[in-house]
Amino acid sequence: MATLRPVALAKSRTITLAEPWASLAPGRGLRRGTTVLVHAQPGLGGLSVALSLLSDASSQGHWSAVVGVDDPGVVAMSDLGVDLRRVLFVPRPRSAWAEAAADLLDGVDLLIVRPPSRAAYGAARKLMNRVRERGTILIALTEPSAPWPLPVDLSFHLTSSRWIMSSRLDARYVTLRVGGRGEAAHRGEHVVIVPDTRGRAVAR
């Protein structure tokens, strides 16, 4: 296991990302206090993208939580590089997802939320304000039938996804439109391989 260095990094303003994400995000990382959106049709790779964004943070010693992902594939997460020792899962929070997320914001550095239904404007705004106050990073995972009701700092829209097969599923090419506010605006379309044959996220 990698050595744990949670204290030294706790105060820095950005959680740095490794490739393939570093070159897609402004400042090569996720800024504390911001909200990141991963938007995709269910089943096409949105979950892999969101959890992959979490893997660098967790391997750097940061705590994270995953709210509303009902049956997370623990093996696949480990293959992505997520350090499972520092991840809390709250599956099936039902209508209490926003409250559960708010409770967790104080305790973790990075929080993935998959709202079970369309997030109300008020709930989303409250959560984003709290994220800003606490310096946490919120990753909202949404789908077209229930979009996130507010503009976010950085967004990944999954526009297409294509599997490469041999005698089994080998790898998936995922096309993402990256956007957001300020520096993150209009960063264009990028292709990322997630998962590759070993279950990791890599640049094409």
């Binding site: 744990l4 949670p6 204290v7 706790a10 049709q41 269910p42 089943g43 096409l44 790779g45 949105g46 979950l47 892999s48 959890l51 010693g61 705590w63 939580a65 992902v69 009902d70 049956d71 997370p72 594939g73 623990v74 093996v75 696949a76 997460m77 480990s78 293959d79 499972l84 020792r85 520092r86 809390l88 899962f89 709250v90 599956p91 929070p93 209490a96 409250e99 559960a100 409770d103 967790l104 104080d106 305790g107 973790v108 550095d109 297409s160 996804s161 294509r162 599997w163 097969m165 005698s167 089994r168 599923l169 080998d170 790898a171 998936r172 998962p195 590759d196 044959t197 070993r198 279950g199």
Partner: protein, 359 residues
């Protein structure tokens, strides 16, 4: 709520000064653990195991009960009380009454219990004065009225009575895990609850506090942590356990012969869903005895949703294991749908199950 088999051994609930209680309890956990790896120690004298999986393999609830009863009797010459119900609170009561509560009847069972079953003297006394005799009577009280009249503890009990929470506060001995580990001679510091660290940092404490808050809000089994263990297929290798429960094979990610190669589904169903797989003529696709499919699968039908078109599949990869006493035969198949979604299916006992989604 998960259907649990609870094992209650009264003689093992009282500590004896020679430490034999803990040792015997540990041995019970070990023999039951051989039947079902997910046995969970709750407190001295009480342990549970999820019934769904074992029941499928032993061929019914009664067969599991018989196997557990037999192996404990062989071990310790100890009569144990076994019961089955949904959620820890009802499962323990079922064990004490030695009943198997049928699927879907846990609510009736819970409501019929005397109010004293909630284990709160003051509530029992006050309840009697108010004409509340059963858990059901108490559950019917309006939540706001309970909040007005009673303490926070009773409000939690009210949620248990209504079936919103699976277990009573204090039903689980939170120090038991550490005691069992030291009784087994394991390294206590390294395996400490949820940390697994040599040293705890401020971040760990913050995360613990947050987990406590969520658990308080949503119930004891709402916050989970992940574990990995050795195994060939993802659904065997991963498990999620309530945060704070004792750990078994902690992140044992050793390579394992015959592992399914390639990427693993990002969604791994804890309770696989039955589905139908059909060929172009509309006939069900079957897994042959020699591990081949009867026809090319073209359609996948999940309950309550329209048929989906399979555009590609791979496998089957058969797995033959000696699983407990019976030989368990499974085979896995990957399918790609026209929507672009990829799924992992498993054929077992003449049926198809959805076990994973490559989201």
């Amino acid at each position: 709520m998960e259907r649990l088999l609870a094992l209650w051994a009264e003689p093992l609930s009282q500590e004896r000064s020679d430490g034999s209680t803990l040792r015997d309890y540990l041995r019970v956990l070990e023999v039951v653990g051989e039947l079902c790896p997910f046995v969970e120690p709750i407190r001295l004298g009480l342990c549970t195991l999820p019934l769904r999986g074992p029941s499928r393999f032993f061929g019914g609830d009664e067969a599991v009960l018989a196997a557990v009863r037999q192996s404990v009797r062989d071990l310790l010459d100890l009569g144990v009380c076994l019961g089955v119900a949904e959620g820890l609170f009802c499962a323990e009561l079922a064990a004490r009454h030695e009943v198997v509560v049928a699927v879907g009847e846990t609510t009736v069972f819970r409501r019929s219990q005397p109010l004293s079953a909630l284990g709160h003297k003051e509530l029992t006394t006050t309840g009697r004065r108010l004409g509340l005799y059963t858990v059901g009577d108490f559950a019917d009280l309006d939540g706001a009225r309970v909040a007005e009249r009673f303490s926070a503890t009773v409000r939690v009990l009210h949620r248990v009575a209504r079936g919103e929470l699976a277990e009573l506060p204090g039903q689980r001995d939170i120090r038991l895990a550490a005691r069992l580990r030291s009784a087994r001679g394991e390294d206590v510091v390294r395996n400490e609850q949820m940390g697994f660290f040599g040293q705890r940092s401020a971040g760990d404490d913050r995360a613990q506090a947050a987990a406590h808050r969520v658990r308080h809000r949503l119930g004891l089994e709402s916050v989970l942590v992940a574990r990995l263990s050795a195994g060939r297929v993802p659904e065997d290798r991963s498990s999620l356990a309530p945060w704070g429960s004792p750990s078994r094979d902690l992140l044992d990610d050793a390579p394992w012969p015959g592992r399914l190669a390639g990427p693993t589904p990002m969604i791994s169903l804890r309770h696989p869903v039955v589905l139908e797989v059909r060929d172009a003529t509309g006939a069900s696709v079957r897994m042959g005895a020699r591990g081949s499919l009867s026809a090319t699968p073209t359609t996948l039908i999940l309950v309550h949703s329209p048929p989906r078109t399979i555009v590609w599949f791979a496998g089957p990869w058969p797995l033959v294991e000696r699983w407990w006493a019976s030989g368990r035969r499974r085979a896995h198949v990957q399918v790609l749908l026209d929507s672009g979604e990829a799924m992992l299916l498993c054929a077992e006992a003449g049926r198809w199950w959805l076990v994973g989604v490559y989201d």
